[in-house]
C-alpha cells in the first residue's frame, strides 16, 4: 500500500498558502510529521482525509486518484483530528454506533467490535455515560476508538497525544506500534519525543514545504558534530543566544547549562560535543536562519 502525493498546493487566499508544491511518498509504517505551527501539517492531513480539496496537485492511493474519488480512501480511513468534538448527549456506545454508520460499518458484530474498542481504550465502565461529562483525556481516547472502528488501512492522527497523561501516552505509542504492521499511519505531534519513539520515518515541514523526509538516524546525522553543551554564567546566556542557535538551557545554581548548535564549534566557549537527537535536528532544520 502506498500513498503518492505530487506537487500538492493549497492556497487559502492571495496571502495564505497552506501547502506549496508538496510531494511525498508514504509507504506502510509510521510517518511522523514535524513542523512549527503553520507549517501545513494539519492542511496536509485534511487533504489526505478528503475534507479539504487541494488547489492543485495529485494524491494517489495504490494508483487511484483520491482527489477525484474521495470515497476510495474514506472506506479505509481512520482519522483523529486535532480539535474534534463529540455530541455531548450521546453515550460512548451511541456515539461509536453513529460513527460506525458514517463509516459504513454494521452487522451483528458491530456491538462486539465497539465493546472491544472501548475495552482497549479503557472506557467500558463509562460507556453508558453521556460523553459531555468526559474529561479531555477520555474524549481523546474515544476519538482513538472511533478512528479504529472500520479496521482502517490508512490512519491519520493529528496531535493524538494532546490531553493524554504520561502513562496514556506510553500506551498509545504501543498501540501505534501494534497497528503499524499493515497500515499507513501518519502522525503529527509537537512532542518530538512521541515521534522519536514511534515513527519509522520523519517528515519535517516548514511554511507549507517539505524540508526533509528520511529515517530518524539519517535526519540526526545532519546535525551530528554540531551540537554542544557548555556551562556559563547566567549573564552570558543572552550573548550566546545572539551568536548561536540555543536548543535548551537549564539553571544550575549560579551557572546555566546551555545546549546549542554551531557550525564552527564555538571554541571561545570551550563546549563539549554531545550526541545529537531528533529534537536538535528538527530545531536546526526549522530554524529561521536556516
Amino acid at each position: 500500500m502506498s500513498l503518492v502525493i505530487k506537487n500538492l498546493t493549497k492556497q487559502y487566499n492571495k496571502h495564505k498558502t497552506g501547502l506549496a508544491d508538496y510531494s511525498i511518498n508514504i509507504e506502510k509504517g509510521v510517518l511522523g510529521l514535524l513542523g512549527p505551527n503553520g507549517a501545513g501539517k494539519s492542511t496536509l492531513m485534511k487533504i489526505i482525509a478528503t475534507i479539504s480539496k487541494p488547489t492543485t496537485g495529485t494524491l494517489f492511493l495504490d494508483g487511484e486518484d483520491i482527489v477525484g474519488n474521495p470515497d476510495r480512501i474514506r472506506k479505509i480511513l481512520g482519522y483523529l483530528p486535532q480539535d474534534f468534538g463529540v455530541y455531548p448527549n450521546l453515550n460512548a456506545y451511541e456515539f461509536l454506533e453513529y460513527i460506525a454508520a458514517m463509516k459504513g460499518v454494521g452487522g451483528s458484530n458491530l456491538r462486539k467490535r465497539i465493546d472491544m474498542l472501548l475495552e482497549g481504550v479503557n472506557l467500558t465502565a463509562d460507556a453508558k455515560r453521556p460523553i459531555g461529562t468526559y474529561s479531555g483525556g477520555m474524549k481523546q481516547r474515544i476519538g482513538i476508538a472511533q478512528a479504529l472502528l472500520n479496521d482502517p488501512k490508512v490512519l491519520i492522527f493529528d496531535e493524538p497525544t494532546v490531553g493524554l497523561d504520561p502513562e496514556e501516552r506510553v500506551r498509545f505509542r504501543q498501540l501505534i506500534s501494534d497497528l503499524a504492521d499493515d497500515c499507513i499511519i501518519i502522525l503529527s505531534s509537537h512532542i518530538v519525543s512521541d515521534i522519536e519513539t514511534i515513527a519509522d520515518e520523519v517528515a519535517i515541514m516548514k511554511n507549507g514545504k517539505l524540508i526533509t523526509k528520511a529515517a530518524q538516524p539519517e535526519i540526526i546525522k545532519l546535525v551530528e558534530g554540531k551540537v554542544f553543551e557548555t556551562l556559563v554564567d547566567n549573564n552570558d546566556v543572552a550573548g550566546i543566544k545572539n551568536e548561536y542557535q540555543v536548543i535548551d538551557t537549564g539553571r544550575q545554581k549560579d551557572k546555566t547549562r546551555v545546549r546549542f548548535i554551531s557550525q564552527t564549534g564555538a571554541p571561545e566557549l570551550s563546549p563539549a560535543t554531545v550526541n545529537a537527537t531528533l529534537e536538535d535536528a528538527y530545531l536546526f532544520l526549522t530554524h529561521d536562519n536556516k
Binding site: 480511513l77 468534538g85 463529540v86 452487522g107 479503557n122 463509562d126 479496521d151
Partner: protein, 525 residues
C-alpha cells in the same frame, strides 16, 4: 468603563463578522425596501380602512421608522439572544469571571453590544428609507427631521428594550433557548395586543416601547377630524388587499408631547433597571453554585478519568470480522435520537400535550394556531439539524465519512421530517377521518418545508439564528392568518393545486441549495 468598552467592541465585532449577520443585512435591505410599497402594490404596511397616505417625507419616514421598530423588535430578539451562551460555550466566560468587571458591568456591555448590532441594522433601514423617499415621491419636499424623529423616538427605545430583554432572558432562563423564545413570543404578542386595544390614550403611550400607538392615534385623529370619519383601528404590518378605491390624505407626522417624550425616557430607564436587577441573579459562569445538577458526576458513578489504556491494548486480530453496511437507516436512528434528546423532557411533555389537544380543538384552530405553535416549540431541535456537526466540531469525522452527501444529509432531513409529521399526527388523523386529502398533503409538505428551511438556512449561513428568526416570523404571521406566510395550508387559498405546487417548488429549491452548498463545504473544511 474601559473594560466595558472593550467587551462591547469585541462582542459587536464577533457578532457582525458572520455570514448570518450579512444575510440578515441583506434581508433587512429588502424588508426596508418593502416597507414603502409603490402606490400600485397589492399590500400596505399601514392600513387605514378606505384611506391611503400621500407619500411625503413624513409618511415615508414614519412608516419606515415604525415598521423598523416593530419588525426589528420581532426578530431582533432572536438575532442578539445568546451572547452569554456564546461566552459559556467558548469558555471565554471563565476568563471574564476572573476579571474585576462587575456583574452589572458585564451584562450592561452585553446589552449595549446587542443594541449596537440592532442599531447597525436600523441604520441600514434608515438609509434605505431616505432612498425610498426619492424613489417613491416626486415633488414632495425632503424634510430630514421626518426621518430622524421616528428613528430616534420609535426605533432607539425599542431596540434598547429588546437588547435588555435578550440579556435578562439569558440571565433568568439560562441556556434554555426554547423557554426564552416562548417567553418572548408571548411577551411580544400580549404587548402588541395591549398597545392596540388600550382605551386610555396616555396609558397606551406609556406601555408602548415602539411608539406605534402615538403614530396610529395621530393618523386616526387626523382623518377623523379632517374627513369627519369614525375610524376605530389601523392595521400595522403587511396587509394584503384586493385593489379598490382609496381616498388619500396628507399627514405631516406626530405632535411630540411631553407625555410621549416621558414615555420614551421611561423605557430607556426600564431597560437599564432591568439589566441592573438581573445582575443580582447572574451566575457569573459558576454553574456548580447555580445548580446544574444534571452535569455533575455522582460519586458512585464509574469513572476512569485519568486511567490509562487497557494493558492489553487493542488487538485487531481478535476483533470480529468487519461487516459493511452503507445504508442510511442507522444514520436516521441516531439523528432521531439526537433530535429527541435535544431539549428537556418538559418540552416533550408539553409538546405531546399540545399535540393531543389537536384531537379535541376545532380543526381550523388546530391547523391555524395549535400546529404552527407546536412546531415552533421544536425550533431549537430543527435549527441545529445541519449545523450541529460544526457546532460540536464533529464535522471532521462526518465530512470524511463514506458518501456523506448521499447518506448523512438525507438522514438528517428525514429525521427532522419524521418528528414534524409525528407531532402533527393527531391532526392528520382527524383530516384522514374527514377524508380531506388536500389538508393532509398540505401538512406533510409544510413539515417538509420547515425542516428543509432549517437545513438549508443552517448549511448556507453556518448557524442557527437565521432559521430561528424566519421560523418565528413565519409562526407569528401564520397565526395572524396572513396567506403569503402560510406554509402549512392553514389559510384558504384560491387554488389547492397552485398552492401545493408553490410549496413544492420552494422545497425543491431548498433541497438543491442544501445539497449544492453542503457538497462544496464537504471538501473545504
Amino acid at each position: 468603563m474601559k473594560y466595558i468598552n472593550s467587551i462591547i467592541k469585541a462582542d459587536y465585532l464577533q457578532r457582525t463578522r458572520s455570514y448570518a449577520f450579512l444575510i440578515t443585512l441583506a434581508i433587512t435591505f429588502y424588508a426596508a425596501y418593502s416597507f414603502v410599497p409603490p402606490p400600485t402594490a397589492s399590500y400596505t404596511t399601514l392600513n387605514v380602512v378606505g384611506y391611503k397616505g400621500v407619500y411625503n417625507s413624513a409618511w415615508v419616514g414614519y412608516v419606515s421608522g415604525m415598521m423598523t421598530a416593530i419588525m426589528l423588535s420581532m426578530y431582533g430578539f432572536f438575532l442578539v439572544n445568546g451572547g452569554i451562551k456564546k461566552d459559556i460555550d467558548t469558555e471565554v466566560g471563565l476568563i471574564i469571571a476572573t476579571t474585576p468587571i462587575t456583574n452589572f458591568g458585564y451584562l450592561l456591555s452585553k446589552m449595549l453590544s446587542n443594541f449596537l448590532v440592532l442599531l447597525t441594522i436600523a441604520g441600514c433601514t434608515f438609509v434605505v428609507s431616505i432612498v425610498m423617499f426619492f424613489v417613491r415621491t416626486s415633488g414632495s419636499p425632503f424634510i430630514f427631521s421626518n426621518f430622524l424623529i421616528p428613528y430616534s423616538l420609535f426605533v432607539l427605545p425599542a431596540m434598547l428594550v429588546i437588547s435588555s430583554l435578550a440579556v435578562i432572558a439569558e440571565v433568568f432562563l439560562g441556556r434554555r433557548s426554547i423557554l426564552q423564545y416562548i417567553a418572548f413570543f408571548f411577551f411580544f404578542g400580549i404587548l402588541m395586543a395591549n398597545i392596540n386595544q388600550q382605551k386610555n390614550e396616555t396609558l397606551a403611550v406609556f406601555i408602548d416601547p415602539f411608539g406605534v400607538r402615538t403614530m396610529t392615534s395621530s393618523i386616526k385623529n387626523h382623518i377623523n377630524i379632517k374627513y369627519h370619519e369614525h375610524i376605530e383601528g389601523i392595521n400595522l404590518g403587511f396587509t394584503f388587499n384586493s385593489k379598490r378605491g382609496f381616498k388619500t390624505f396628507e399627514w405631516n407626522g406626530i405632535a411630540i408631547t411631553s407625555v410621549f417624550l416621558l414615555s420614551r425616557l421611561l423605557w430607556l430607564i426600564i431597560s437599564f433597571v432591568l439589566v441592573y436587577f438581573s445582575s443580582f441573579f447572574f451566575h457569573r459562569f459558576d454553574f456548580k453554585q447555580s445548580g446544574n445538577k444534571k452535569k455533575k458526576l455522582k460519586i458512585d458513578e464509574p469513572n476512569t478519568d485519568g486511567a490509562m489504556f487497557a494493558p492489553t491494548g487493542i488487538n485487531r486480530a481478535l476483533m470480529p470480522p468487519l461487516v459493511t453496511d452503507y445504508g442510511i437507516l442507522p444514520f436516521i436512528k441516531t439523528e432521531l435520537l439526537l433530535l429527541i434528546r435535544k431539549g428537556s423532557k418538559w418540552l416533550w411533555l408539553l409538546s405531546i400535550g399540545v399535540a393531543i389537544s389537536m384531537l379535541f380543538a376545532p380543526v381550523n384552530i388546530s391547523h391555524a394556531y395549535i400546529l404552527p405553535a407546536l412546531w415552533f416549540l421544536q425550533v431549537t431541535r430543527w435549527s441545529e439539524i445541519t449545523t450541529k456537526e460544526e457546532t460540536n466540531r464533529l464535522h471532521y469525522f462526518t465530512y470524511a465519512s463514506y458518501k456523506p452527501l448521499q447518506r448523512m444529509l438525507p438522514a438528517q432531513l428525514l429525521a427532522g421530517i419524521i418528528i414534524a409529521v409525528v407531532l402533527a399526527a393527531p391532526l392528520i388523523a382527524r383530516y384522514a377521518v374527514m377524508a380531506d386529502g388536500y389538508a393532509i398533503i398540505n401538512i406533510i409538505s409544510g413539515a417538509i418545508f420547515i425542516v428543509l428551511l432549517a437545513g438549508c438556512l443552517g448549511i448556507v449561513s453556518g448557524g442557527k439564528k437565521i432559521f430561528e428568526i424566519f421560523f418565528f416570523l413565519l409562526t407569528y404571521t401564520v397565526t395572524q392568518n396572513i396567506p403569503v406566510a402560510d406554509y402549512l395550508g392553514a389559510v384558504k387559498h384560491d387554488s389547492h393545486m397552485a398552492y401545493i405546487a408553490v410549496i413544492l417548488a420552494f422545497n425543491l429549491f431548498m433541497l438543491v441549495v442544501s445539497f449544492g452548498v453542503r457538497s462544496y463545504k464537504l471538501r473545504n473544511v
